[in-house]
């Protein structure tokens, strides 16, 4: 059996038939202000309670300003409707008895950053959230996927979902990542290889030597972007690295329960000889730092390679929008904005990676760089390590936790026509603001680009 199959089987309440999908039990539901108000309204209309508030975790991330907030007025920085959405979430949580890790909790942050860091994300769980990057939690061997708001209502009311069983897709990463090449580069290369629709209908399991050698934060970066290949979820089998990461986290099991959990979690791997519906292998040893050149995360190129040729309407439209040319490397492009943050690369190791490159240097004149920690705990840890000082000394801005410029809902936006090197996960047209031109990259590449003033190879700065 595959890892996916084991976790799936463990949560089937009613088995699927050709007529009716399976009813799948959900162990952890993470909710936030953007994709839940309409779901809470449905519960209110029907007079239903939240069935398992104890399995529901709420936070505020998308519509929150990255400037300090101590009153409602401070929330208005992100706009009036954004502020109202935050307030509505606070009220919904009170009304339905859901624990909110909001302002004043010291634990607020991006949904996919706080689940793991608090130890709520655990191997073998089913985890959902009204946000497609829920795939992040799969790094722990959980089955985690994004759902729509109607389904958020289903989980709030019944702790279950109607689901057809997806197919399985093995992505095997052989070899070792070369020095200066990171998990972000690897996952961009994977999406470039299988395409933005390559994973549709499938759950990916990442396997192989390069994955086993990675720490948890890198594994999260990989699983996070599974959705950008169209996959329903991404998973990595738990191992010592996983257990080591979880041990002692506030919501991880303790004492005898910990030992029992580790024993159970140790079974969660794909058995030898198990069959996947699809399989692909990549050699990590051949990889370079990667950047995107187009308007989806599959349009990627190695940092010093020329942008490929392409002739169809979509390809030409993307290059026109990005104002880049086939045949030239991305390093020809001047940079206006650099964003380090998001659920892909807003954890402590990402901030550290960017800070090490910024250390003792200054960002180029005319470049604006924002470093936004993924959570309040990440922020605190970074400050403890003095990274904030390095970042601000280089001329970059050190902000409060949230999604920020990844989705540009909170007032942090890229202006029309500006080129942004961003550690987030989507370079769609207008994602970071109307007319924003987004280049996805690793934290190291982002920091190097801020210093150079052009899209830059981070290996020159390490």
């Amino acid at each position: 059996m595959t890892l996916f199959q084991k976790v799936w089987d463990d949560h089937v309440v009613v088995a699927e038939t050709p007529q009716i999908p399976a009813i799948l039990y959900i162990d952890l539901h993470i909710v936030h202000e953007v994709t839940t108000p309409q779901a809470f309204s449905v519960l209110r209309e029907l007079g239903l309670p939240v069935r398992r508030p104890d399995l529901t975790l709420a936070t505020l991330d998308h519509s929150t300003p990255t400037t300090p907030v101590s009153s409602f007025e401070d929330l208005l920085v992100a706009g009036e409707s954004a502020a109202n959405q935050v307030r509505q979430m606070e009220q919904n949580c009170v009304e339905f008895g859901v624990e909110l890790l909001g302002y004043g909790s010291g634990q607020r942050g991006i949904v996919h950053v706080i689940g793991p860091e608090l130890g709520a994300t655990q191997p073998g769980k089913t985890i959902v959230c009204g946000d497609s990057h829920s795939s992040t939690h799969g790094a722990f061997g959980a089955l985690a996927f994004g759902i729509g708001t109607t389904e958020v209502g289903h989980v709030l009311a019944t702790q279950s979902l109607l689901q057809r069983k997806p197919k399985t897709f093995e992505v095997n990463i052989a070899g070792k990542l070369p020095a200066g090449v990171t998990a972000k580069d690897l996952v961009l290369a994977v999406i470039g290889k299988i395409g933005v629709n390559g994973g549709t209908g499938h759950v990916i399991e990442y396997r192989g030597e390069a994955i086993r050698a990675m720490n948890m934060e890198s594994r999260m970066t990989i699983c996070n972007m599974s959705i950008e290949a169209g996959a329903r979820a991404g998973m990595i089998a738990p191992d010592e690295t996983t257990f080591e990461y979880l041990k002692g986290r506030p919501r991880a099991p303790k004492g005898a329960a910990w030992d029992a959990a580790v024993k159970r979690w140790s079974q969660l791997r794909t058995d030898d000889g198990a069959i996947f519906d699809k399989s692909v292998t990549l050699d990590a040893g051949e990889l370079q730092p990667m950047v995107t050149f187009g308007t989806n995360p599959g349009m990627v190129v190695a940092i010093n390679d020329p942008i490929p040729q392409g002739n169809d309407v979509s390809f030409r439209k993307a290059l026109d929008y990005m104002q880049v040319e086939s045949g030239k490397p991305m390093t020809c492009n001047a940079v206006d904005i650099v964003f380090v943050g998001s659920c892909t690369n807003g954890r402590i190791s990402d901030i550290e990676e960017a800070a090490r490159i910024l250390e003792g240097r200054k960002i180029a004149a005319g470049v604006r760089m924002l470093v936004v920690p993924g959570s309040e705990l990440v922020k605190k840890e970074a400050e403890k390590r003095g990274l904030d000082k390095i970042i601000t000394a280089a001329g970059a801005e050190w902000r409060e936790a949230g999604c920020s410029m990844c989705i540009a809902m909170n007032g942090d936006i890229v202006k029309p026509g500006q080129l942004s090197v961003s550690t987030s996960n989507r370079n769609f047209e207008g994602r970071q603001g109307i007319g924003a031109r987004t280049v996805l990259a690793s934290p190291a590449t982002a920091a190097a680009s801020a210093i150079a003033g052009f899209v830059a190879d981070p290996r020159k700065y390490s």
């Binding site: 759902i147 959705i227 809902m409 769609f428 207008g430």
Partner: protein, 194 residues
């Protein structure tokens, strides 16, 4: 959900592939707490210039496209964010069906749960529809056919449960609630607790 058995209308074609939900409705319109009135924002940045004037070249702004109810998009329609605001916006705009050769999982799920037909067809029929905007179609959910009078009939498959819910106007939350004893039994009998 209201029952959807049949959709009749003309097509409008968006010729690009990988149309993501950020294009369908940009994030800055997601600070709403309601589902209503999002049609105004559908494809906003493709429909309008910065000064608020219409972009005359965009497909939806053509005079002939104004009352079209069927959207034909390039391969991998609806990829990206899970925002259900995307089907809400398309429905509110006036679309009743989206057709492509591939539709992203979450978008398709969200669309069907709101009564927006999300239909995947084979690539040769898809290419024909892409090349023939303004085609009059009749979509029959029960039969699984798109009929183009005098031209062709295209078959499509849809998950049986999704089809049943569309035809009968079944709300899936109600269905799940009826399973509450099975859900309770599951919580009781599982040998580890989340």
């Amino acid at each position: 959900m209201k029952s959807v058995k049949r959709v009749q209308g003309r097509t409008v074609v968006l010729p690009t592939r990988d149309i993501d939900t950020d294009q369908i409705i940009a994030a800055r319109f997601l600070t709403t707490t309601s589902k209503e009135g999002l049609g105004e924002y559908a494809f906003y940045d493709l429909r309008y210039n910065e000064d608020g004037s219409e972009k005359p070249e965009f497909a939806l702004n053509q005079a002939a496209a104004r009352d079209c109810t069927i959207l034909v998009g390039g391969n991998n329609f609806g990829c990206g964010s899970s925002r259900e605001h995307a089907p809400w916006a398309l429905l509110d705009y006036g679309f009743e069906a989206v057709i492509s050769s591939q539709i992203a999982d979450i978008f398709r799920n969200n669309a069907l749960k709101n009564g927006l037909l999300a239909i995947v067809i084979d690539s040769s029929n898809h290419e024909w529809l892409m090349a023939n905007p303004g085609t009059e179609c009749v979509i029959d959910v029960e039969e699984g056919t798109i009929t183009i009078p005098g031209k062709r009939s295209i078959e499509f498959t849809m998950d049986g449960f999704a089809r049943h819910c569309l035809l009968e106007g079944i709300d899936q939350l109600g269905f799940l609630q009826q399973q509450s004893s099975a859900i309770e039994a599951f919580e009781e009998k599982r040998n580890w607790k989340p």
